[in-house]
């Protein structure tokens, strides 16, 4: 009886295979038709960040936006160059929408070889606000104001608005959590911490990026959107929009000659919005500890992204409600 049943299933599957192919062809044609319909729309060109996007005004805005690049198809340098132009526009759009921290996370590693070029390309941009570029290990590379890039000391005015662009390495994903678990296990082994007392705070402490900046503590409870000078070292602080009563120190731009070991860490807030760029909508393997309440959106292929698509994402985000279990 079982063999007759499985034979019947096999025969039915064989007979229905053309139907399966036809369904996929229809899906593909539908997708291409949608692309052609929207092809006449404006390409992604955001020219200014001085005025915030009209879309989504009055609703939620994301303080930290994660741009996850998940396209395995392009590896040639000319592809990368083309994508960089689009990526710069996406970053500009994100600042215009109200975000102040942009994380660029690449899942396939194509950005590794192009990071230097992208950094160089971004250094010529004018995002309308002072922007800090943060490279590997949370170390600030430099800052941009009015389209001019500078390294070294940043003489920020008190109350000056600023933003940051993080280039997250591949080890920003699960590997960071694994590293954190190893460090906690090491602490337990060295009897620094009993295993029963490990809590969420310990994990968060270990997850912060460590940056060799200075030997002073760089972050403190201060007002929003200001820079802080501690003992002559200028620290960058970026607004954390979802928590109005605290600010997060992103890092130090001025390393004194006498700097030794680091006691400063970069506390990156959780991304409120994540846009996944690629042919398929796949969740990025960004640090899982930090994506608890992140809203994920499909950006489509980076080379085909339009301003209207991003504005639609912003509209959806601004109208969404976070109930946190209630």
């Amino acid at each position: 009886m079982k063999s007759i049943k499985s034979l019947l299933c096999w025969v039915t599957s064989l007979a229905l295979y053309p139907v399966w192919v036809a369904v996929h062809v229809i899906f593909e044609l539908q997708k291409r038709a949608m692309f052609l319909r929207s092809a006449k729309g404006p390409f992604l060109q955001v020219t200014s960040t001085s005025s915030s996007c009209d879309v989504g005004k009055g609703g939620r805005t994301a303080g930290h936006v994660l741009l996850a690049l998940n396209d395995a198809s392009f590896t040639l340098p000319r592809h990368v160059e083309h994508e960089m132009v689009k990526l710069k526009s996406c970053i500009r759009w994100a600042f215009a929408s109200g975000a102040r921290i942009i994380s660029v996370y690449n899942m396939h590693g194509w950005l590794e070889g192009a990071k230097e070029s992208l950094m160089t390309a971004l250094q010529e941009e004018d995002f309308g606000i002072t922007t800090v570029l943060i490279g590997e290990n949370g170390r600030p590379v430099g800052w941009i104001r009015g389209g001019t890039f500078r390294e070294g000391r940043w003489d920020a005015k008190n109350g000056e608005e600023c933003g940051a662009i993080f280039f997250d390495d591949l080890d920003s994903g699960k590997q960071r959590l694994i590293q954190c678990a190893r460090e906690l296990c090491q602490d337990v082994k060295e009897s620094k911490e009993p295993c029963q007392r490990i809590n969420a705070g310990d994990i968060e402490e270990h997850l912060h990026k460590k940056s060799r900046c200075c030997n002073q503590k760089c972050f403190a409870q201060i007002s929003l959107r200001t820079s802080l000078s501690l003992d002559g070292h200028t620290c960058l602080l970026v607004e954390h929009t979802s928590d109005k009563n605290s600010a997060s120190a992103v890092g130090c731009l001025d390393t004194p000659p006498s700097a030794t070991s680091c006691s400063c860490s970069v506390r990156l807030p959780e991304p409120e919005m994540a846009i996944s760029f690629g042919p398929a909508f796949i969740l990025p393997d960004y640090n899982p500890w930090q994506t608890r309440l992140t809203e994920f959106f499909e950006g489509g292929e980076l080379k085909r992204v339009k301003l209207a698509d991003l504005e639609a994402i912003l509209l959806r985000f601004s109208s969404s409600e976070v109930r946190v279990g209630k």
Partner: protein
């Protein structure tokens, strides 16, 4: 009467044909559902919220049958979050009673579990009886997440590994991606292939954060009690269309996490640690499950 029979048979035939068409392509091994929208569904129909949850459970039963037809091996559902305890006491109590009642029903429906070889696992001690009754099944797994959050799960995994390091079972360098995945509640099949969330929300809400990295995701605007076979079929089709990109993404992600080949002593330590976790889980179930009835005992012996 005849008309009802015809309608029922037509539905069965449609289900059979849809599952046969979909099985021509790759089927996800592990599908996770965030069953959102029960209360909003009830409010739209001017019903009590508790009724929305009851309808939601009925929909879950239907959905599990579709998944079985499609050959999906592991299904994980988000029934209740730790954050949901913020809701009113009446609602929380209703949901817990409903869960208890339905899980007991599931344990009593031995025929259904036995016929399809379904093993029930869940991440909080509320249905040890269903777990005990189904522990010998291997064909499919149903994970029910009650009073669960992913952060708590990851924290528990880290604490378990740290405890093993403290007593010398493991060394800190033994902690890898693979071991971490094996330490989670959803072991042994942790990686989610397809995650479906209903009601149009686009976040994970602290559900399977580790397991759903590099998973195909579908946020569907339909409310959970209205989730139909066609919605599931559309999600599976989307998975099939994304299959090659998914494989490429996972290969890349695995390359990042790949450690050097471990030597025998590391494998032995890990095996010992995992055995201890499994023994601890079994003793927890035995401690909390009520004594089996004569029928249940007979069923277990027959299977052995």
């Amino acid at each position: 009467m005849m008309k009802k029979g015809v309608v029922r048979w037509s539905k069965r035939l449609a289900r059979f044909l849809v599952s046969r068409v979909l099985r021509c392509g790759p089927i996800p091994k592990h599908v996770a559902f965030i069953m959102d929208g029960n209360r909003r569904w009830a409010e739209r129909r001017r019903m009590m919220r508790q009724e929305g949850h009851a309808y939601g459970f009925l929909q879950l039963k239907e959905c599990l049958k579709w998944c079985l037809d499609l050959g999906i091996k592991v299904v994980t559902v988000y029934a209740f979050s730790l954050e949901n305890f913020k809701r009113s006491a009446v609602e929380v109590e209703t949901i817990m009673k409903l869960a208890e009642e339905k899980l007991n029903e599931l344990a009593e429906e031995r025929g259904f579990l036995d016929r399809h070889g379904i093993k029930v696992q869940h991440v909080k001690a509320a249905a040890c009886r269903a777990m005990k009754v189904s522990e010998h099944h291997e064909q499919a797994v149903l994970n029910i997440c009650i009073a669960y959050t992913s952060r708590e799960e990851m924290l528990r995994a880290v604490a378990n590994m740290a405890e093993a390091v403290e007593d010398g079972t493991l060394k800190p360098d033994d902690v890898t991606d693979e071991l971490f995945s094996e330490s989670l509640y959803t072991r042994p099949v942790s990686q989610v292939d397809l995650l479906v969330r209903t009601s149009g929300e686009t976040r994970l809400s602290d559900f399977l954060l580790w397991q759903s990295a590099c998973a195909c995701v579908q946020f569907q605007p339909v409310l959970w009690p209205d989730f139909s076979l066609w919605h599931l079929a559309s999600a599976i089709l989307q998975y099939q269309r994304s299959f090659s990109d998914l494989q490429a993404t996972r290969r890349r992600s695995e390359l990042n996490g790949r450690e050097q080949e471990e030597d025998r002593s590391v494998s032995v330590r890990k095996a010992e640690y995992l055995k201890r976790l499994e023994d601890r889980r079994k003793s927890f179930i035995l401690r909390h499950a009520p004594p089996m009835t004569a029928g249940e005992q007979h069923g277990s012996k027959e299977h052995e």
